[in-house]
Structure formats: structure tokens, C-alpha cells
Symmetry: C2
């Protein structure tokens, strides 16, 4: 089912990092929002509704942010889909714009993960697998072992994902890490869940990203030309029990279905995708998810990475921003940060990390646990110039 595209009038984010308790969720979200408003040439009075994606912010975090921004009074919807929360907030905003209920909306993704007020990051209380030790890192370690066994991939090919994404984020002023790393750095890092080490894992991060989205009426209200505002063509959302415990750990059925949803909604196909922002919460995840989407043939993702085909200038640039591994992963903020990167790439304003001829991009988020009985969600956002 296709509905009208939304336009990105403005995008903004703060540099991700680990901030002290004095850096508040509200303050981060407001700073990113003001950047997005400035980018759109819009005023807070132009904003008709707010969609916020976050996990640990509490049930009315969006309302607190609205007060902080001087947007008190507007409709605020808090959306939660674990690491896909920000992307799901974009999806709901896009739907509201297509329905015509609102013409100009603010979408905010935000998370304060290092703040001990919230008691740290814990597995979902209903996640029984995590309770007995099958936490995210363990699941992805199993995925890596399986991938290596099935496809003859090497540890070095998997580690190359981290090297590539750190190389990209050297040019991203919003990334938590802006330094290059070597293959040896990744291989010799502190083990986390064999074969994965510390640099195979995305960090704990604080951060916020925001976008001003509008429909055709909204463009008129803001005095913007459609040609200057990249389009959201569609945002697939599919749920699924993930693959631990099934025959093929890396089948990525949920990614396959998310891709189908994206192609159906957006009217584009895998061959049209010029670059990808991928949910590389772990190095191996970037590889198996790209294969699940059908963007790389199954079993070849390791080789593609080693050969530089997923780097900027390669056949399919993946994570020009640095991805979760290097830009950081404040969970609720990630989906919106990905969409900001898509916006800048499509406008051609991404500076040293610009992908050439970036006309259509895809951003992928996965939220939820890796158990067989719990559920997760995948979002596939497709944007064009």
C-alpha cells in the first residue's frame, strides 16, 4: 500500500557521546530540535505535532521535551519499539502527514543511556533468554560463528565492518568516535562474546536527533520548494520472532519481509538503492542484514566488506555516517540519526563522507530481543532526492 510521501524540511542532531547527568534528555532533544528547525527555516510556532522515539525516557518524555522547547500544548505521541523507536516515530509522523491531520511535524529521537538515574540499561523484564545470559552480544556472537561456518567467512572480514565504519565517521562531526581504527585494533580488543570483541559492539551512548517533516501543504506553509526537501517514500515496519533457536540463525526472514514492505511502499527496488544506513549494532549484524534485505548475495557480505565494496566510493556504500559502531547508539535516537544522514547525503551536503550520486537511500533499524519467543521489529525507511 502506497501513501503520499513526506518531505524532510529540516534535520538536526547533536554529537553523540557519553555525557554527565547534568546533560538532560530534555536539553539534548531541544538542542537537536532547534537545529532541525533552523535547518528548515521554521519557528516553533510552525510545529503542529510532535512524535518522539525513546526507550528509557519515561512515559511522558516527549511532553517534557515539548515544555522545554516552548511547544507545550501540541499533540505529543511517545513511540516505543526498542532500538527501532526513532524510526517508528518517523513512520507514525509520515502517516499523520499523509492523512492530512497535520502538515508540519517535529520528530525527535533521543536517549540518555549513561545516566544512572535510570538504573542503567537492562534487558526487558519479559526477555527470559536475556535473563539466563543470551543477551544481545551473545546472540550476535552465535550469528558470527554460524556465518563463518556456513560461508567460509573469516574473522578479519567481520572485523573489517568496524574498520570501515570508523574510517567513515572521521568525517562526521556528529559521531561519538571520530578516529580511524585498524584491523589489528579490532582483533586485539577486549573479548566480549567470542568471536566478537569490544570494537565489534556499538557503544552505550547519549544523544538526540530531530527532523521537521511536512506534507505538500506543509511545504507551502514553510515556503519551501519540494526539490530542496528530500522525500520519505515509505517506511516498512514488520515484526518477527528473531532467529535464535531456529534451523538457520542467519536466515533474516524479518529483514527479507521488511525489504518487501519497503519496495512495495516506495515503488523502488533493491537495484535503485545508492547507499544504506544499516543497524550495525554489532559488526556481523551489518553483513547478515544487508544479505537479508537482498542488497548483497547471501554469504558474500564478508568478502564485499573486505574488498571495500561497502565503503564510500564502493559498489554499495554502507554507513557513511559511521553507523551505530562509530556514530554511537543512543537507542531511541538512532533511527532519526540515520534519517538525518540520509537527508544530508541526498542533499549532497555530507562533506568528506559524501556518497557520489546519492539519489535514493535506505535506512534499516532493528529493535527487540534475539529470543525465539519474544518479538522484535524491523523498519526500512526509503528516501529519495
Amino acid at each position: 500500500m502506497t501513501i503520499n510521501p513526506a518531505h524532510v524540511a529540516g534535520a538536526g542532531m547533536i554529537r553523540f557521546g557519553k555525557f554527565p547527568a547534568s546533560t538532560t534528555l530534555e536539553g539534548m532533544a531541544a538542542a537537536a530540535s532547534r537545529q532541525a528547525l533552523n535547518d528548515a527555516g521554521a519557528d516553533v510556532r510552525d510545529i503542529e505535532a510532535i512524535y518522539t522515539g525513546h526507550v528509557f525516557g519515561g512515559p511522558v518524555a516527549g511532553q517534557r521535551i515539548a515544555v522545554h522547547l516552548g511547544l507545550d500544548g501540541r499533540p505529543v505521541t511517545n513511540v516505543e519499539n526498542y532500538c527501532a523507536s526513532g524510526a517508528t516515530a518517523i513512520r507514525e509522523a509520515w502517516i499523520a502527514l499523509a492523512a492530512g491531520l497535520h502538515d508540519v511535524v517535529l520528530v525527535i529521537g533521543v536517549e540518555k543511556m549513561t545516566d544512572r538515574v535510570f538504573g542503567g540499561v537492562k534487558p526487558d523484564p519479559g526477555d527470559l533468554d536475556a535473563a539466563v545470559g543470551l543477551v544481545m552480544a551473545a546472540g550476535h556472537a552465535m550469528s558470527a560463528r554460524r556465518y563463518m561456518a556456513d560461508h567460509g567467512a573469516t574473522r578479519e572480514q567481520i572485523a573489517a565492518v568496524a574498520v570501515k565504519n570508523h574510517a567513515h565517521s572521521v568525517h562526521n562531526p556528529y559521531a561519538q568516535y571520530q578516529h580511524a581504527i585498524t584491523l589489528e585494533d579490532v582483533l586485539s580488543a577486549r573479548p566480549i562474546a567470542d568471536p566478537l570483541g569490544l570494537l565489534d559492539c556499538s557503544p552505550i551512548s547519549d544523544g538526540a536527533a530531530a527532523m521537521v517533516l511536512c506534507n505538500a501543504n506543509g511545504l507551502r506553509k514553510l515556503g519551501l520548494a519540494a526539490s530542496s526537501a528530500p522525500r520519505i517514500l515509505g517506511c516498512g515496519l514488520v515484526s518477527g520472532s528473531l532467529q535464535i533457536g531456529t534451523d538457520d540463525l542467519n536466515a533474516e526472514d524479518v529483514s527479507r519481509r521488511a525489504a518487501e514492505a519497503a519496495w512495495e511502499m516506495s515503488g523502488v527496488g533493491p537495484e535503485d538503492i545508492d547507499f544504506v544506513e544499516m543497524h550495525d549494532c554489532f559488526t556481523i549484524a551489518e553483513i547478515v542484514r544487508l544479505e537479508g534485505l537482498g542488497l548483497i548475495p547471501v554469504g558474500q557480505g564478508g568478502q564485499w566488506t573486505q574488498d571495500g565494496w561497502t565503503g564510500i566510493g564502493g559498489r554499495l556504500p554502507v554507513n557513511p555516517s559511521g553507523g551505530l559502531l562509530s556514530r554511537g547508539h543512543p537507542v531511541g535516537a538512532t533511527g532519526v540519526a540515520q534519517a538525518c544522514e540520509l537527508t544530508w547525503q541526498l542533499r549532497g551536503t555530507a562533506g568528506g563522507r559524501q556518497v557520489e550520486s546519492a539519489r535514493i537511500g535506505l535506512a534499516y533499524c532493528k529493535g527487540g530481543t534475539v529470543s525465539g519467543t519474544d518479538g522484535g521489529s524491523v523498519t526500512t525507511l526509503v528516501m529519495s532526492q
Copy 2:
């Protein structure tokens, strides 16, 4: 702004109560959902997307419920707006139906509040007022004192809200409490925050409610006539810093604005409302919110209640279901339970608690804290035959 109405194809809920840990969130939600599906004559295969409202269920509760229901794979959006979470989930579903992205959706409101796995119900970590003692009951006690002082209302008039709502729920098989209480019971109950006692407060509850909503295409898919499926004409959502610390504690500016949103969206006015499901988390809240909406003149709500004008058979029946005070208040479930009651009343199938000539009804939810700096949200759902 008006968008197309949605239709309620089916409504279902479980009896609210305090259940053991063996009664799971997923099980409650699935039971309510199956009732809604049966009521709609629909199968799980008809459901195209799921919107869930909950506060304490964890970031992917909706996905776990989908697995439990055999709906794994569908788009699932978890919506959180504290006690307005369920109502906000209805709103987002209505928007998606109006946009035409989906034709048949399942909306679930659910909460397991008594389960100690979740560590009990605590104020939002960012709610500094609650941290120093200004919890919900204290705020509403101040509201009651102010109302009595300003309008010469009596303690008995405020207590009469609880007597009325318990009398209504004697006829509601889904209510947590199905027994009548006397004025003396309310006045002599254990004090909670003077002047409010235990029976002035809604209980801690577990429960779930669900609805199958569809647009015109969805009605055709399900083979239903529009005349048999009550319509959602609109659902206002406004945020606001509530009134503690301002000059007029009971000004209910947020309710006034929510009413304006409801009238604008639905094309009906306060004079058209035949009955109300009101968020009576505390007795006094029913009175001041009805006045804030403009449904009762300011200062007269106590007298109206004492005179029976807000009872079934009165001038403006309020909470025929028993309301939060007697039906119970599993926070994420409440907004959906209210909409179920609207559905049954509008169909004329509410049995012993049926409101005569119930053609248009309004349901009101308020979510969030009562502090001056934190935010809250109010929803105003308007439904017609």
C-alpha cells in the same frame, strides 16, 4: 483539521482485577483481542497492523503480544502517553486508517500493574514533584480543597462521584468492582490525602481491552455494514503543563483546549454529547474535568453529581461503565476500555447500564504528572452511532 472517520468493527475486554503473576500481560491482551476479533466476525488473518498502548510492559510488549496471538509479522507500534496511552494508540490507528496505509487494525490497551516483576508502580524518574511527595493523590487532594473553597462544594458532593460510579458498575461484567457503596462508605474510608480517602481513588489494576478498527475499505473486507459499526469522529490530543503552582489549580486549561480539538475534528459540539466516559482517577477529577470540557458550568459539578444529573438517566450520564474508580484503572488499558464502553452504549447493548438515546459519546483520558514543569496529555475521543 478533519480526516475520515474510522469504524469500530469489534470491541472486547477482560474483567479488570488484581491477578497473580501467572496471569501475563500477553495472555490478558490476547484474551481481550480474541473477544474483539469475535465481535467483529474477523480472523487474525484480517489484521493488518497492531497499535498497543501500555506503560509498564517494556519496549516491545506489543510484539510479544503479536507472537502470542499468532500475528507475528505484522507492523506493531507501541504507544506511550502514561494514563492516556491506550487512547493515544486508538488515535494513531485512526490516523493510519484515514491515511489508507492499513484498512483493518487491532488496537490493544493493556497493563499488568500488580506484577512485582516490574517493581511496582513508581513516579516517572524525571518527575521531581512526585519525588518530594507531590504524588497524584496529593495533587488531587489540593484540587478538591481548592474546589470546595472556591465554589462552596461539600465533601459529600465529591464523594457522590464514587457512589454513582460504583452504582453503575454493578451492571458492568467487566468491572473490577461490581458492588454498590454508600456515601458513608466513602466518607469513612481510610484517608489517603485529606480530604480524599481510599474510595475517592481509582485502584491499582490489571487488565486489557481491544478493538478492531477499520476504514471504509476495511468494512468491505470484513463484510460489515457501516450502520453496525460505530464511528470514531475524532480524537483530540493536547499536551500541557498541568496546574499545580499556577494561580487557579482547577482552571483545566488543558481540558478546555482538548475540548476545542474534539469539537473541531468531529464537527459536533458540547450540546451533542449524550454521555461521557471520564478519566475519574480521583473523584474530584471527574468534576473539574467535566467543567474544563465545558460540559458542566464551572462550580456546578458537585451539585450536578449530588442531584443525580451525571447518573444513568440523568441530564448527562457520566461513566456508565463505572469509570476508573470502579471498573479499575490498568493505566494503558483505560483509554481502550472507555472506547469499548462507548461502542456498546452506541450499539445499545450495554444491558443494565444502558444510557437511553446514546447517539454520540465522548471519552476523556489524562496522562502525565500534575507538576508545573512536567507535561501531561489529554485525549478527547468522540464517537457516534
